[in-house]
């Protein structure tokens, strides 16, 4: 059972997520399973207060992956207290969006449809995300 206690170890969380993605990709490689570019959704309603060095390492690692086209990142701030500046530091290509209210349902519906589009794409296909549909859950 999860419980909130005021901590936001963003660096540690992102490191764990990237490590898990690497493990999964290796599993797919070992079994000869094709896979697509992974997506990382980073959501926060506050400011990171974990280990500062870990945060910097995770920011740099994420930026390197995005710039080398190994990862797509979707930074989302929730509520007025979300640290959009730190979210932006993770993401060299896509500015963070703030969730409209608590429109999680609309966000995950959009995310599901978007990922499905990618998983059905073939080499040479240009997958365009539904930008208009983002307005249902996010704002710049």
């Amino acid at each position: 059972m999860l419980s909130a206690c005021g901590n936001t170890p963003m660096g540690e969380g992102v490191r764990l997520a990237l490590d898990l993605l690497d493990e999964r990709k290796q599993e797919y490689k070992d079994k000869g399973v094709d896979y697509y570019q992974p997506w990382l959704v980073l959501m926060s309603d506050g400011q990171p207060n974990g280990n500062a060095d870990m945060l910097e390492d995770s920011i740099q690692r994420t930026r390197d992956l995005v710039e080398n086209k190994k990862l797509s990142l979707f930074p989302i701030g929730i509520g007025a207290s979300a640290d959009m500046d730190t979210l932006a530091r993770f993401s060299p290509k896509r500015p963070p969006l703030r969730l409209n209210g608590l429109n999680f349902k609309e966000f995950f519906e959009w995310l599901s449809k978007s990922v499905s589009k990618v998983s059905q794409s073939r080499p040479g296909d240009k997958v365009e995300l539904d930008i208009d549909a983002i307005k249902a859950w996010g704002e710049a």
């Binding site: 059905q120 080499p123 296909d125």
Partner: protein, 265 residues
């Protein structure tokens, strides 16, 4: 003497979205050169079916004319790619589009005397049967992700060329297949071709009947394993000696039925 069978079928997603089949195959025997070629047009490149058609036609006729120049290395793979790209540029002018609208992969094997030349850009597989053993001569080039590959028109095209010149004496057949066909006839995990490829190359059926069987199997079985276009081309060194009509229909309609194939051996 080399004999050919080849086929391309429109994928289910292309039928649904009214997109033409972007896979093209071409076979040629000219100036004592035997050539098989296959090309898969890029998904969202609007005229890639024309690019694929031009690519297979151009490379086949080019190797028929200049085979010896490549064997003695007076012409190089880079020169070949430039010629193919120029052919696509001419087509782009004709269709009033950009060259990238004609983006496609390209697989080709050309044979003359006891030598063969292999040329491959992009995904898809080139294999051969040497003795009784199937061998992958050129594996798919997808990079890390399934929906990424290189095309003739890509910036990385020159770096991604797979090219070889070798002796053909111990080889009894070659196969080219697109990534759609890979779903049925290639194991990425094992890096191996399906055993039925060997059965087809070693088959005693006439070329005409093999061609009919190939078309039936692609229309009724292979294309159902994926939503993508599927294509394949074989060059077989053989002396066809007739066919057994009773076995032919079940042979191809059950192309993935290993138990039936074992009974027939």
């Amino acid at each position: 003497m080399w004999h050919f069978i080849h086929y391309a079928v429109q994928g289910r997603s292309h039928v649904k979205n009214n997109i033409p089949c972007q896979d093209k195959t071409y076979v040629l025997h000219k100036h004592n050169v035997s050539v098989i070629a296959l090309s898969d047009g890029a998904g969202s490149a609007k005229l890639s079916h024309f690019g694929a058609k031009e690519s297979v036609y151009f490379i086949s006729n080019h190797f028929a004319k200049y085979f010896d120049d490549y064997v003695d290395m007076s012409k190089t793979k880079e020169w070949l790619l430039i010629r193919i790209q120029k052919a696509l540029t001419r087509k782009a002018m004709k269709y009033n589009c950009s060259v990238s609208d004609l983006a496609c992969t390209l697989l080709c094997v050309a044979i003359k005397g006891n030598r063969f030349i292999l040329f491959h850009i992009g995904d898809g597989v080139i294999g051969c049967l040497g003795g009784n053993a199937l061998e992958v001569l050129s594996a798919p080039d997808n990079g890390e992700f399934a929906n990424v590959t290189n095309f003739i028109t890509s910036k990385n095209a020159f770096k991604s060329i797979r090219y070889s010149i070798d002796n053909v004496d111990k080889i009894s057949g070659f196969v080219l297949m697109s990534d759609g066909t890979q779903a049925s006839l290639y194991s990425k995990r094992q890096g191996a071709l399906a055993p039925v490829i060997r059965d087809i190359i070693q088959s005693d059926f006439s070329v005409k009947k093999l061609q009919i069987g190939l078309q039936n199997s692609f229309e009724n079985a292979i294309k159902n394993a994926t939503s993508d276009d599927c294509s394949i081309a074989f060059a077989m060194k053989r002396k066809p000696s007739g066919y057994n009509a009773r076995l032919l229909t079940s042979y191809f309609s059950c192309i993935k039925n290993e138990k039936l194939l074992k009974k027939m051996r």
